[in-house]
Amino acid sequence: MTKPIDTSIYTAVTDAIRTEAQRILSEGQVSAIVGYAAARRKGSAQPIVISQPDDAAKLIFTPACVNNLAVYLTKAKKEIPKSGKIGIVVKGCDLKALSGLMGESQLKREDIYLIGVPCAGVLASTVQPATELTTDSIAPKCTECDAHLPTGCDFVPAQTPVAADLEKKYAAEITRLEALTPAERWAYWKEQFSKCIKCYACRQVCPFCFCEQCLCDRNKPQMVDTTPRPAGNTAWHIVRAMHLAGRCAGCAECERVCPMDIPLNLLNRKMAKELKELYDHEAGFEVLDKGPLNMFTEKDDQSFIK
Amino acid sequence: MKKKKMIISQETMDVDFVRKVEALSGTSVRRCFQCGKCSAGCPMGTFMEHPPNRVVRLLQLGQWQRVLAGRSIWYCASCETCSTRCPNKVHLASIMDALRKLSWDAEGASKESYVQLANKLFLQNIRTYGRQYEMRLAAVFNVKSGQFLKDLMLGPKLFAKGKLKVFHSKNKNMSEIEKIFTRIEEMRKKGEAL
């Protein structure tokens, strides 16, 4: 049963963002703000960097504001001024990524002005941008969201999002796959990975793929086949999932940008599930000294070790 | 008595009594470090309310009344297993001897009467006859302990086998045994011996 999701607060949120942006830019608290603006297609949104108080009116927040803007503070920093504090509009899921990046010394809290947005959900990448947000059109990642209201920000609009009770899409799919035999799972992933054209869009969009040289691009030695062939593609996705384990905050940008529709976030969610079960780790707003795979306790599970 | 709270002070710890036990037994009570080996090997341990180690422990605390009030000391079989195996050379069998002696001196606060009766009769027999005559000992014991029918089945059989002799002659030197008894009594009266 398709049900609409209440996004009525988004207008008020947009207004609040604009006011705040205008204020901090004019007061000189920040030198620029990364946020969302309307794009050409009706109802669509795109990232924008503004540095003039007057441009604050360009900022919006709508169900089409899917992108995780965190990536603009690190490797996609080209259009952002080198000095001064930067403001950024963040949904809960995006804030988790920022916290992760801070924990990995890629960002400093004091360099950022966080404008948190109360968010009831955004649209799936598969639907038209002007579509109404419903239990069907909502992005799969939003079905598992536990961070509708970011905390610890410098500014959050006063609105409270109404969280709909949704069927958890990834959890359901993980459960389905886990019930299969190894051979069946292998067949599933073989088919998925065989679609891969190794465009590396997933890598490009991921806030955590900030390595200057990716392991999978290395030639001396060649750990992973770099040509877009099934063996190398499979290895790439396994290495990617492993390197994101304990770090990925679940923004699902990889999956959104994949031109071949490979369910990449499924791997990331599976890893997150395991880390929760094994080490009670969940990506959150808190900046951690050490990620779950950079630490240990003496009592860690070792039932799999002979 | 056993469960009663123990109030410990220099007054309640009767060190003099313990010293007496040590003098009689020729062994140190304080040496015991309560390893429990004596109780572990005691054949009579299961019959005692204070196992052997606890008897010593109570002495260490000067709580001899608790020991004498119980049956434990009268259930010691004098098998010497404890003394043989004690890692601290505490001669517990001798301590038991001393405690029984002192128990008699203290006019037997103990509940155990049968063993005491048997012992008393045994010694009386020696004083009277110089030697021990089992038939007489058993008969008198049964009468005095009110168990007229005890071991009734054994009697005739033993008699038939010649194991119980009814008639016996006294030693020729009987006066000497009486002298030993009286001399010891005198020494004790004068405080020359414990």
Partner: protein, 665 residues
């Protein structure tokens, strides 16, 4: 193009019995890059090694693989031989075809095939081996000793006696530590001060010991052989150089009733004071919190009476920097108190013992001061409440210790013995008194220790009662002790005049903060962690830092002194060479690729990874990257496996080498 030489050893018949060595040599000879391959009866013998050296020269070999026994057996041998022949030793690898092949397989065909593959893998590996120069680190031959108790004193004296300069830093105004407070010492009952003070004087007079008392460690930088230590010298208000120690200032000071910490607050001292008469240095310090001059600006009596004019109210805290090559940490212990602890503290106090509110319930150290001839009572055991001599005294062991619920699960190790000692001291001083001890176990492992304990019972007539005390409470001027004797199985009640608690040994307050400055690890109680519980008990995992005494865990005096000398020996081993040489199996960071996520730093157990700023010529910060200090790195490679972009590599075990081996399969 590499010219690899492969040498197959027969090991007598140990290898050749099940491995066709000639065939292995032949097969391996065909591999690309292999210029020479041969087999020999005993490669490790002199003729074998000569064969190797000769082949290197004659055949101009660039890399060597010796297929023989386990590298754990002879890797050093062959690397030395290779070095003698002019090659870098790390261009030689061993293929283990004995322990891992000929000895564990019986089928000659199988074993031969496996041997060929093992050697083949090592051939591929050795191609990727790089020249690794031995790492040398300069060593500053001066040592820092932190803590002036018996551990620090012993370590300092040993190192200084060996000819090296020592900086000894002590937080208190005098060295001596807890041992100076003790009355007598077990198991010999010799007077603590009698054996302690000569050592303190030795420290004061030693030409190679620089003593900083009333000082604390502020900052520690550098690494093994090359530490820079900043020391804060707190303002003493008395000039150490000019003060003669005459003591007139102390006599004239109008403030006299300040409880003396050294006497566990039983005795009183003036505001300008030395903690005890035998203090080293014998220079007083002004307690600015209680000094009238500092509080009101009036008085100034001490300055007026001071002949040499040593009193200086203007003195300020100062910082000194010392360069040292090694650090001995000897910060000692503190005693647990039964007082109420702050809410949320992992350590709890004893409400059932009155939270320290019953005046005649004291701890072991207070008893030491009472029993000490130089103590506040002149060696008389007297009750703090009314000064009466206690006739019934109860000692209780394991207060805090072995009490998980109270927050400490370890055994404090010294209490059994010092309680036995206390009962003896008490019996010697109060002939008509009676001592009782409540205990759970008597733990007396040590030379003459059990005999000592037994003596307290058998000769000194202490009554030991096995069982813990449930509660203490004041009743009139008595303290009711509610215990049990578990050997008898009854409750026991004693009305005591005084109760002495054997409270747990804990690390000094602030031990964790010092550890953080030093970069050494500590356990959940703040005891410092040794590098290996059995084989490296006096070294920290952080190279160049050593442990002595109770800062590592509860210890008695003999053990402390032993460990202090051991730590000194470790320091001397380090100082025996001008340069520290070490195997070059260490991690290196490829700075161009490093993005500074510091995952490597997070997993490094040795603190070898530092943050390094890369700047352009104008001095602008380009980025911050990881830097592995080769003097500290132990070479485990955990950083490399953790680094997502593999920008840190462990020399000798690089990804290239590993992948080459896997690909050789």
């Amino acid at each position: 193009m590499s010219r690899i030489g492969v040498f197959i050893c027969h090991c007598g018949e140990n290898i050749s019995r099940t491995v066709d060595v000639e065939r292995v040599a032949q097969e391996v000879g065909k591999l690309p890059g292999v210029a020479f391959s041969t087999d020999y009866k005993y490669m490790c013998s002199d003729p074998g090694q000569n064969l190797l050296k000769k082949a290197i020269q004659d055949q101009k070999l660039s890399h060597i693989v010796v297929a023989a026994c386990s590298p754990r057996m002879h890797e050093k041998t062959f690397r030395k031989a290779v070095e003698a022949a002019g090659l870098n030793p790390f261009l030689c690898e061993m293929a283990n075809i004995r322990e891992h092949c000929s000895w564990v397989h019986e089928n000659k065909e199988e074993a031969t095939v496996k041997a060929v593959e093992i050697v083949g893998m090592m051939v591929e590996r050795v191609k990727k081996n790089r020249v690794l120069p031995t790492i040398t680190v300069p060593v500053t031959k001066r040592a820092l000793v932190i803590g002036g108790g018996i551990a620090g004193i012993q370590a300092a004296l040993d190192i200084a006696d060996c000819g090296h300069e020592v900086i000894l830093v002590e937080r208190e105004p005098s060295i001596g530590g807890h041992m100076a407070q003790l009355s007598e010492t077990f198991p010999t009952l010799d007077c603590s001060q009698c054996i302690m003070t000569p050592k303190m004087v030795d420290v004061a007079n030693h030409p190679r010991i620089k003593l900083y008392t009333y000082s604390e460690i502020e900052l520690v930088e550098g690494y093994i052989g090359n530490f820079q230590v900043t020391i804060k010298r707190k303002a003493r208000s008395v000039n150490e150089d000019t003060c003669t120690g005459c003591g007139v200032c102390m006599e004239k000071c109008p403030v006299r009733k300040i409880p003396n910490k050294f006497d566990c607050n039983l005795g009183m001292r003036p505001a300008i004071y030395v903690p005890f008469p035998q203090a080293v240095p014998n220079t007083p310090v002004i307690d600015r919190e209680n000094c009238i001059k500092f509080k009101t600006g009036k008085c100034g009596l001490c300055q007026k009476v001071c002949g040499p004019g040593a009193v200086d109210y203007e003195q300020e805290d100062s910082l000194v920097v010392e360069a040292v090559g090694a650090i001995v940490v000897a910060t000692g212990f503190d005693l647990y108190t039964i007082d109420e602890k702050p809410k949320g503290s992992a350590i709890k106090g004893y409400g059932e013992f009155g939270h320290g509110k019953i005046p005649d319930v004291i701890d072991g150290m207070t008893f030491e001061r009472l029993a000490s001839a130089s103590g506040p009572t002149g060696g008389k055991i007297l009750r703090p409440s009314d000064g009466r001599e206690p006739k019934q005294i109860v000692f209780i062991q394991c207060i805090g210790s072995r009490a998980r619920e109270k927050g400490i699960s370890y055994c404090s190790k010294v209490c059994c013995m010092y309680t036995a000692k206390h009962t003896m001291l008490y019996h010697h001083k109060v002939h008509d008194g009676q001592a009782y001890v409540f205990f759970m176990d008597a733990r007396t492992p040590g030379k003459s220790y059990d005999e000592f304990w037994r003596r307290s019972i058998e000769e000194e007539e202490a009554v030991y009662i096995r069982g813990m005390v449930s509660r203490l409470y004041q009743k009139g001027d008595k303290i009711v002790v509610m215990g049990s004797d578990i050997a008898v199985g009854v409750q026991v009640e004693i009305e005591a005049d005084m109760v002495v608690l054997a409270t747990a040994v804990q690390p000094q307050k602030g031990a964790d903060l010092l550890a953080q400055k030093l970069g050494i690890s500590y356990d959940k109680y703040n005891f410092y962690s040794e590098a290996h519980a059995k084989l490296r008990p006096v070294e920290c995992a952080t190279a160049g830092i050593y442990l002595a005494g109770a800062c590592q865990g509860p210890k008695d005096i003999p053990e402390t002194v032993g460990q202090a000398s051991a730590a000194a020996a470790k320091v001397m081993t380090l100082f025996s060479k001008d340069k520290l040489e070490r195997e070059p199996i260490v991690a290196r960071v490829k700075e161009s690729g490093c993005v500074g996520c510091f995952a490597c730093k997070k997993v490094c157990a040795y603190g070898a990874v530092e943050e390094k700023e890369i700047r352009d010529r104008q001095g602008n910060l380009i980025k911050t990257v990881a830097f592995v200090n080769p003097g500290v790195c132990a070479g485990c490679g955990t950083c490399q496996a953790t680094c997502p972009s593999k920008c840190v590599e462990l020399d000798g075990y690089t990804d290239e080498q590993v992948i080459a081996m896997i690909e050789a399969l």
